[in-house]
């Protein structure tokens, strides 16, 4: 068990290293592929009026002439030790962990990320609670009453849920529930949970529902398929042969086994969502990581985009690690081998 944990931790660490190098490489290469040179990159940070000499000096000082590995190493070093950025006329300090430094706003990226994270976290946790509850219960009921009206209706609705994009369901939701019925907030505002939990929930309710609708649909289908498979297993028949009541057969024996693969998918989905629910945050103007990424892309602010992408990658890797460790708890066969 302990070797298993250590192995998973090591694997996660290596993965994190590879992912960060790959992400950094993309941000290093892509501007160069579309014709950017160290000078044009530096131009953005010194203003249009600067002479070519100043530009190349700045590009040099910011390290844009250095090879990829040197730049990457400097970036990683910044995370642990912080970094200094020399503009020629004064130095900017980016304290550790320095996840990048926006040369446009002259602000470190990390505090921004910390600022935005609670919004995305609130959105993800609330939506996940809803979709796990509704998705799994719908899937179980559908599987148990396979072919019934309830099953067909649930699968029909879930087909809509899977296929309709958030920017459609979100806008319809706003139109009906906010502007029409006045039941929910109309978006654009976020109140921290610690300040006013009621207001927090009121502002997030519609985004939760809209986001959860899409995921519930997917989870209902997955749960239904998984349940149908496990209900045909020999051990479910054994449970029934022992004289267990149907509810115990279905939940303790059927659902228990069907949930295990769902755990993997949930870990990935949740980790991905923590990196920013881009569409949902955009539709409801929620100041989370997703919206931060979109704004940074619109402003061509590469260090910000890089920082938020790294953050998202980190969440996916960590979520995967947590799933792997949970697997050992859930499935005893993993624990031993």
């Amino acid at each position: 068990m302990i070797t298993y944990i250590i192995r998973r931790l090591l694997a996660a660490f290596v993965l994190l290293f590879i992912v960060s190098a790959a992400v950094f490489a993309i941000f290093y290469l892509v501007p160069r592929l579309v014709g950017a040179t160290p000078e044009t990159l530096a131009t953005r940070y010194v203003g249009r009026a600067a002479t070519p000499e100043t530009v190349s000096l700045i590009a040099h000082k910011l390290g844009f002439y250095d090879p990829f590995w040197v730049q990457y190493a400097r970036w990683v070093k910044g995370i642990f030790l912080g970094a200094e950025f020399d503009y020629g006329n004064g130095t900017d300090h980016c304290p550790a962990p320095c996840f990048g430094y926006s040369f446009i706003t002259r602000q470190p990226v990390w505090p921004d990320l910390l600022d935005r994270l609670p919004v995305t976290l609130s959105l993800a946790v609330g939506a996940a609670t809803l979709w796990v509850f509704f998705g799994v219960s719908t899937g179980v009921l559908s599987a148990l009453r396979r072919g019934s009206f309830l099953d067909r209706a649930a699968m029909g609705v879930s087909l809509a849920g899977v296929s309709l994009p958030i920017f459609f369901t979100g806008l319809i939701g706003l139109l009906v529930f906010s502007y029409g019925l006045g039941l929910t907030a109309s978006g654009g505002s976020y109140t921290p949970f610690t300040e006013d939990p009621g207001e927090w929930a009121y502002n997030l309710l519609l985004p939760w529902v809209v986001l959860a609708f899409q995921f519930s649909a997917q989870y209902a289908r997955l749960t239904r398929a998984g349940m149908l498979e496990t209900l045909g297993e020999d051990y479910v028949r054994t449970a029934r042969a022992k004289g267990l009541p149907e509810s115990a057969v279905n939940v303790r024996h059927g659902l228990r086994a069907a949930l295990t693969p769902l755990l993997t998918i949930f870990g990935l989905d949740f980790g991905l969502l923590l990196g920013g629910a881009v569409l949902t945050e955009q539709v409801f103007s929620l100041p989370g990581l997703g919206k931060y990424a979109v704004d940074a892309i619109t402003n061509n602010d590469l260090p910000k985009v890089l920082g938020v992408t790294m953050m998202a990658a980190l969440f996916v890797v960590v979520a995967n690690l947590v799933v792997d460790l949970l697997y050992a708890v859930v499935d005893p066969r993993v624990r031993i081998s």
Partner: protein, 345 residues
């Protein structure tokens, strides 16, 4: 209960409606069984053996299976009884041992947990008491250090140990009717003998009625008092085990005996397979279901192709055979033709 058998199955029919047609898995099966006795049900895959056993336990889903006929267990009729009545008996008065203990035990729960669960459904006792019972039961089926193995998961057991644990789980509530569906098929040959011995011993101890479902006549020879041979969802021969091995009268039973490996005979490699394939249960052959594979079909004068024979008494009392040929002719064929060939094998 004078004269009333412990278990009596009357005209049991189990069919499954499918898109391709009605699958008649069991078609008019009747038999009876007393406490302390063992019935072997023999047949090829798809002959309806397992469907019958699941039917007795009421394990068919009412939504996709049609069950009719009567099943009397100790004076209680089960086919018409409510699901809760049958559920209360299941795992309690009647229990089942399944074929492959690796897939038949839940991989996520310890062996002890699964036995405790089986005990506590039918007994309102604390977990502690049930656990003591489970450990005790594991010891009785011959698992060493049961107080430690009780907390192991099924995948930590060997195949034979798993089957023992499965038997412990089935026996934990002292069932009076025990159904074993291919109990040794998934096991090594050396372990098979141990498990058969164990089942025999436990049956004597509990004085329970035992139904052994198998395609292995060796298992039948070991355990059964009576044998029911199934073909295409029907009983085609029913007799005491002794009669089945010494004076069988149905050509299909002869075929089964011919395809059984015998260690006490030379030329082990010369098994005689039964030609052809088991029949489709949707479209059974016209007439006798076995006639397309039967070497003696020409002797029935075309009757085999057109008319399904009745299950009728043979020479010995209690011996039933479903065949158009007269008893005397069947006996003659066995004596002069089949038996010498089997012995020469």
């Amino acid at each position: 209960m004078t004269g009333e058998p412990f278990l009596e199955v009357k005209d049991l029919k189990i069919s499954f409606p499918t898109d391709d047609g009605l699958v008649k898995s069991v078609d008019g099966l009747s038999f009876r069984l007393e406490r302390g006795k063992t019935l072997g049900i023999v047949g090829e895959s798809g002959s309806g053996k397992s469907v019958t056993s699941l039917g007795i336990l009421g394990l068919h889903n009412k939504r996709n299976a049609d069950v009719s006929g009567e099943i009397w267990l100790d004076g209680e009729e089960l086919v018409s009884a409510g699901p809760d009545t049958v559920r209360a008996l299941r795992g309690n008065k009647m229990a089942m041992i399944f074929q492959d203990p690796l897939s038949a035990m839940h991989p996520f729960y310890t062996v002890g947990h699964q036995i405790i669960e089986a005990y506590r459904v039918h007994h309102k006792v604390s977990k502690k008491v049930a656990r003591k019972h489970a450990v005790d039961m594991l010891g009785r089926v011959g698992i060493p250090q049961p107080d430690r193995r009780v907390d192991d998961y099924p995948h930590q057991f060997s195949g034979g140990m798993r089957q023992r644990a499965m038997i412990a789980m089935a026996l934990v509530n002292d069932p009076q009717l025990l159904i074993a569906d291919e109990p040794t098929t998934a096991l090594d040959v050396t372990v098979q003998a141990q498990i058969l011995d164990l089942m025999h011993k436990l049956q004597e101890e509990f004085n329970s009625a035992l139904i052994v479902i198998t395609h292995d006549l060796g298992v039948v020879a070991e355990l059964a008092d009576d044998v029911l041979v199934m073909y295409g969802g029907r009983c085609i021969e029913y007799a005491s085990a002794r009669t089945i091995f010494e004076r069988p009268e149905h050509p299909y039973t002869w075929g089964l005996l011919g395809s059984m490996p015998r260690i006490d005979r030379p030329n082990l490699d010369r098994l005689v397979p039964i030609p052809g394939l088991p029949p489709s249960l949707i479209n059974l052959p016209s007439g006798c279901a076995f006639h397309p594979r039967c070497a003696y079909e020409p002797r029935t004068g075309g009757l085999g192709k057109s008319l399904s024979p009745e299950l009728s008494p043979a020479a010995e009392p209690g011996h039933l055979v479903r065949c158009h040929m007269p008893t005397s002719e069947r006996q003659r064929i066995w004596r002069e033709d089949v038996k010498p060939k089997l012995e020469a094998q």
